[in-house]
């Protein structure tokens, strides 16, 4: 038996729709009477943070960081976490787990025949998930938003 990373490979399976969703119309200056300004040729779209932070709109959720267990990764209490449930984790991804009604963050480390779940707080021990044991993640952390 091999270690179960839940639904590995799922993202590759979304077929037709990438195109369906990328059909936003770009904004190209405001049409008005009079001589057109040359400057419109140089306009760029303004930055859209939604597009930057959200890969799959339907599967992105926000959580608040409630503690400092991941402080080594720069995540502190009060940070806003942007989590994608559909995203595939890779080695070193920070993954959200939901166990016993609590959400926790862990860094995922792949080894030859087990997976290690690490906190970046050195006082906390890492958890080992061996082959055959089920590891159910809630989502994968994509961005952390902080206010200064």
């Amino acid at each position: 038996m091999e270690t179960k990373i839940v639904n590995a490979g799922l993202n590759r399976l979304i077929p037709i729709a990438a195109e369906l969703f990328a059909s936003e119309v770009p904004l190209l200056g405001i049409v008005s009477a009079g001589f057109p300004s040359e400057a419109f040729n140089y306009t760029e779209e303004s930055i859209d943070f939604n597009r930057m932070l959200i890969k799959h709109r339907e599967t992105t959720f926000c959580l608040w960081a409630g503690g400092d267990s991941m402080r080594g990764d720069g995540i502190f209490k009060g940070d806003l976490l942007v989590v994608d449930k559909l995203e595939e984790p890779y080695d070193n991804s920070i993954v959200i787990f939901s166990i016993g009604g609590e959400f926790t963050l862990k860094r995922l480390k792949y080894h030859a025949n087990y997976v290690e779940l690490l906190s970046s707080n050195p006082e906390m021990e890492s958890i080992i998930v061996r082959e055959g044991e089920e590891l159910k993640r809630w989502g994968v952390l994509r961005f952390v938003i902080k206010k200064f």
Binding site: V6, N7, L10, L13, I14, P15, I16, A17, A18, L20, F21, H56, R57, E58, T59, F61, C62, L63, W64, A65, G66, G67, D68, S69, L80, L81, K85, L86, I96, S98, I99, G100, G101, E102, F103, T104, L105, S119, N121, M124, W138
Partner: protein
Amino acid sequence: MFALVDCNNFFVSCERVFDSRLEGKPVIVLSNNDGCAIARSNEAKALGIKMGANYFEIEELCKKHDVQVFSTNFVLYADMSLRVRGLLAKFCPEIEDYSIDESFLDFSGFEQYFDLKTYCSRIAKTVKQGTGIPVSIGVAPTKTLAKIASRFAKKYSGYKDVCIIDSEEKRTKALQRCAIGDVWGIGRRYTKRLLAMNITTAYDFTQLSRAWVRKNMAVTGERTYRELLGESCVKMETIEPDRQTIMVSRSFGKMIGDYATLSEAVATYTGMGAAKLRKQKSCAKAVLVFIHTNHFRADLPQYSRHIVVTLPVASNSTPELLHYALEGLKNIFQPQFLYKKAGVMMMEIVPENAVQGNLFDKIDRVKHHDLMKVLDSVNEKYGRNTLKFAVMGDGKAWKIKQERLSPCYTTRLLDFPVTKS
């Protein structure tokens, strides 16, 4: 081929996504006013809690078995429903949103390119992983059969969430196992009549003559009959109608007799309707107000009335709409009755930027606009009705009871889940 994607115990599943302690436990969600059970987890079903069971009748049972009880959190369920639909749209361009937890997909032409069983398993897995909501999918040549197939997918774990009816043999078998009352489109009245004729399954029904069905069950009955035989008659309804009206209405926690309390409720609904108008950047030219007594209390005098008030200029400003809605209420209110429900409908909706002005308009629309902007941003952040008008009152006398409401985990900043460490 059509598919019906049905979210399993949808409301309960929504709660479970954000509270893993509910996993494996009996959970129910109560209707508005915390009246009766409208969603049940499998564990709750196993305890014998029936759909629509009155809460006061099952309260003891719930306490005894530690059933987790929730009020309806429509904000959360609506958001999760949109997410599920959004994902489904990635798999199929033709979608009909049949209800908050069911969507039809039109797979015409897909068979040539995809193995539908694999394709649907992938849909179920993606929705489960991406939103946390488990779904059952039924696939068949007609929508009525797809509905039956989805029930099988939900009922028998052997199907692994996907049941396909794609042969005569499977169709016959499915119909033989489907109770007549469970067939989509056969109402309670016809069920009773058919059962009296000893027609107990969908299969028995299809053994009747078509002429009999047409004669005794009208066109809709015949359509169901043909659908069960595998001939597709119910087409997809994919075009979303324009939002021509916005309706906000609720039943009260208890019956109301005085104008002051009734006007608080109407004012609150008007405020909600106005906020919806602003959200979709439109204005209403007219507002309808209705009130009625409790139809289920035949012992009390009954009254039901509505009125449409036309505005001089289409508006989405809460104070302006409040003025006209309450003016309307004054006109239809009769003091000798006890009211159970009131509602406000925004009508003749036009886009915000296409509002026809009025020469004699005395309202400073820029000022109103700015005020509403502040109102909306506060309420968006801290929850609906945080900032409101005095006429809306505190709702203590009339608001529906929602004592076991979960947080709006996905839409409200302060309700986002908090990680433990």
